[in-house]
Amino acid sequence: MIKRKHSSLWYSAMAIIVILTLLWTLFPIYWMLVTSLKRDMDVFDAIPTLWPEGLNIQSYIELINGENPIYGYFINSVITSLGTVVIAIIVATLAGYALSRLRFRFRKSILMSVLVTQMFPLVVLLIPIYLLFVQTNLLNTYLGLILGFTSFTIPFGIWMIKGFVDSIPIEIEEAAMIDGCSRFQIMKKIVIPLIVPGIVTTGIFAFMDAWNNLLFPLTLINDVGMKTLPPGMILSFAGQFKHDWSGMMAASTIVCIPVVMVFIFLQRYLVEGLTGGSVKG
């Protein structure tokens, strides 16, 4: 085994890059937390303090008791995101399996359109969806918003599940078929247990897309009581004359909590989805 020997200079350079990367990556998040724990007026100090002076949770209390309670937005976000997850998982598992294992007419064209639609400018679809929802009374409803979210999450999920089913050796299913299992028994007893990681990954991505989505609720919801967190935050904090930085950062922190939880506990699936789903093809 011949190996390049690294000089200490090389290692120091690498270490400096890693430290700079960590600073660049983590400072904005740290700064969000620190600001959310400052008092409103402290944010305007000419020389900002880089650490919190005591834990001031006034901004968080105002999110609940103040003028613009984000409690309702939070509930709406949870309902629509979980709804999207459930629909995406069920629909994508069925369709993804069929596209992986069965041979039928139009299979190739369906696969291609599923892949291509993930890359569409969704804002173009939003105009007719808006008109359609006016006609069908789906504007300002959870169902409408969830259906809107699925325009991205279903194609994405189908592609993801198909990839996972592809990687299961077909022999297992063939053996079961010889033993007299029906297609649906095979799916339930053999395939689904084997693709649990794929289903979790699909669910995570569906959740994050719905949770983070601003464009759809901004246009499909105009009733304040039905708004989700992103458009709710726009309503509360955006605008030329609003400068409640501390409140804005507190709300941002709250919005981050679920996705950071996913990140901490389900990182493995996240990485799988990121490197696998988007590129495996």
Binding site: V18, R103, M112, M119, P121, V123, L132, F263
Partner: protein
């Protein structure tokens, strides 16, 4: 990936086996695909067709009685619309610069991480965080950090002596473009880092050793051994993010709203504003159709590359 060849062979075997009961297959397929196809035709196929048709009419939400067929009028108007051409310029500037800078920085980071001893592998997870932060939060965070008065970026840059006076980042056209690119780069570096890191793992060790044995220096090794091996991944992930960036909405919307003037107005914001602020549904659809075609071409290139690479 290595198991793909194996997978392809499997599919062939499977095709032969299924030859006998193709009919059964299509019936089952219809049942399994039905829910997906029904929802997708409701929220994707129908809207796409209707947007296409809309683009040949003159529908505006504020004028309910006006809805006549105008053929190519919207597209003719578009050709002479300065705002449209500004958004074309902005969109390409924004997407290309964002992806280019992200990939270069990610390449450096990935190589540095690759050199780290095993016990630091937890750091890799930390570096991923910006990628899961919701767009609206990224937007608010950078809006705050780029603020003229209280923004920490002005403060740091002045302390470091890079600038003498505070810079009005989001109030100047070019600076605002830089600011939104920085925000997106922060958000997207983790994606590229992860992809490149995965790619670096596939570079054959014996090739690296051979390069060293033959006296190649580190730069030559990178240029002749590492880079050719990760070229595929670089191209594919760049193209994917290029396509994704065409559709990025929340960060720009919260930071600049397309302003000042039209200096950060990209295609998505332009279509959104035309349709939902000016209510010109038909014209917005026509603009949208142009971008659908642009993205369709890019997607086909992307898919072709994917199939060639794997």
């Amino acid at each position: 990936m290595p198991n793909n060849k194996f997978r392809k062979k499997k599919n062939n075997v499977q095709l032969k086996n299924r030859g006998g009961n193709l009919h059964d297959s299509s019936k089952t397929a219809v049942i399994l695909l039905a829910p997906g196809l029904i929802i997708m035709s409701f929220v994707i196929l129908y809207p796409l067709l209707r947007a296409f048709i809309l683009s040949f009419y003159n529908r505006e939400l504020t004028k309910p009685n006006q809805n006549s067929f105008v053929l190519f009028e919207n597209f003719q108007r578009l050709l002479h619309d300065d705002t449209f051409w500004t958004t074309v310029k902005n969109t390409f500037t924004f997407t290309l610069t964002t992806v280019f800078i992200s990939v270069i920085i990610a390449l450096v980071i990935a190589i540095a991480l690759d050199q780290l001893p095993k016990k630091f592998s937890g750091l890799r997870g930390l570096i991923l965080i910006p990628w899961v932060i919701p767009g609206i939060v990224v937007g608010f965070l950078f809006l705050y950090m780029f603020d003229y008065d209280v923004g920490i970026i002005n403060f740091f840059l002045q302390r470091l002596g890079v600038i003498e006076e505070y810079v009005p980042w989001l109030m100047d056209g070019n600076l605002a473009m830089i600011a939104i690119i920085v925000a997106h780069v922060w958000n997207q570096i983790p994606f590229h880092t992860l992809m490149i890191a995965a790619g670096l793992k596939t570079v054959p060790r014996d090739l690296q050793e051979a390069a060293f044995a033959e006296g190649a220096n580190r730069w030559q090794e990178f240029w002749h051994v590492t880079l050719p091996n990760i070229k595929g991944i670089l191209v594919i992930s760049s193209l994917l993010m290029l396509i994704r960036n065409f559709n990025n909405f929340p960060i720009i919307f919260t930071m600049t709203g397309g302003g000042p003037g039209e200096s950060t107005l990209t295609s998505v914001l332009h279509i959104y504003k035309l349709a939902f602020e000016k209510f010109q549904l038909s014209y917005a659809s026509a603009v949208g159709m142009i971008w659908v075609v642009v993205l369709l071409v890019m997607s086909i290139v992307y898919i072709r590359l994917l199939q060639k690479e794997y």
